[in-house]
Symmetry: C2
DNA sequence: GTCTATAGGCGGATAGAC
DNA sequence: GTCTATCCGCCTATAGAC
């Protein structure tokens, strides 16, 4: 079957987001992508960890890119920016139903303790997430307060995503994002 | 070697808390517990999932038991109760360093998508966590507000534990628990 | 670039002696 | 209750034909 790497990456992301890193085998992935198992080693020389690294980098680009563009635009006021973020994040985190949670958090928690090389990517994600939220809060609050506000809000969002997953109820995330307008 | 089930359970809990469910093999566990691999199937007829179930139940008892006792005591005022919870949770969640996070959250996120039987236990944990926090907040706030306050606070605590893990920095949890005095 | 075949290892689990 | 031995299957990864 004719495929390209981008497409494979997208489909693999969806499967791993749903099933988790450890619970997804190359068999699952090749079924989902319609390519042969061994073909993954052609695309991703370093095997599963390489594949996952690229998936996480892609996720970083999509989420943080969205945030950065919103934080830096002059076309919207603060209220509108926070509203837009709310809409986007709800859409992105519930696209596949309430059950998948945050891929970054999942991966981080799933790879506790042993030597995986995902930590820097996960750290960069949350650092940037907090950073761009702080940039927006600086439109209304002094710098130091904006920073701690951003940390609180990101924590609440991540906690809400986890409870959303556990109870299969999207309202946790909606309420947390409503409270994020401060 | 002479052992008993309780002891094995405690040690297995520590290893799985540190390494994660999927990344811990019976080999790891038998090394840590000083008993033979196959002995686990004597203690836990249903294999790894049974072992994990008992570990999660034990965790529920320890954490929720602590909360329940504090919520129901007449000996402390609200401030003192919240202070005590802060101290206890910091101690419990950072006992093995900042890197392990919340076993319930970890397990939940690690077992996305496939058919594990841990979901009800994890749900009970968070339901009870929120419940007893709400009981305490009712000393100061109307019932409905106490409930949503408890949900917010638990979300923030869980988000803080995750960031604590990611950045190896216990101050996230400390600040979240300081803000829990409302 | 895509496939077949297969290696090599480890993980969970069982049988059964003592 | 504890240990030895062992099975089976799956999983990651590689070699190599086309």
């Amino acid at each position: 079957m004719k495929t390209n790497k981008e497409e494979v990456l997208q489909k693999a992301l969806a499967v791993i987001w749903e099933q988790g890193y450890h619970d997804t085998s190359f068999q699952d992935l090749s079924d989902a992508c319609g390519i042969n198992k061994s073909h993954f080693f052609h695309y991703f020389k370093g095997g599963k960890e390489d594949l996952m690294t690229e998936i996480l980098q892609l996720t970083h680009e999509v989420y943080i890119g969205m945030l950065k563009r919103l934080a830096e635009t002059k076309e919207l006021n603060t209220d509108e920016k926070l509203q837009k973020i709310k809409e986007k994040l709800i859409k992105m985190y519930t696209a596949k139903g309430p059950g998948n949670g945050c891929l970054m958090a999942n991966t981080s928690l799933e790879t506790t303790g042993k030597n995986y090389k995902f930590t820097p990517i996960v750290q960069a994600f949350f650092r940037d997430f907090i950073h761009y939220m702080a940039v927006i809060y600086q439109e209304r609050h002094p710098v130091e307060h904006a920073q701690s506000l951003a940390e609180e809000v990101v924590q609440e969002i991540e906690g809400a995503i986890m409870l959303m997953r556990v109870f299969h109820d999207t309202s946790y995330l909606e309420r947390a994002l409503t409270r994020a307008n401060r």
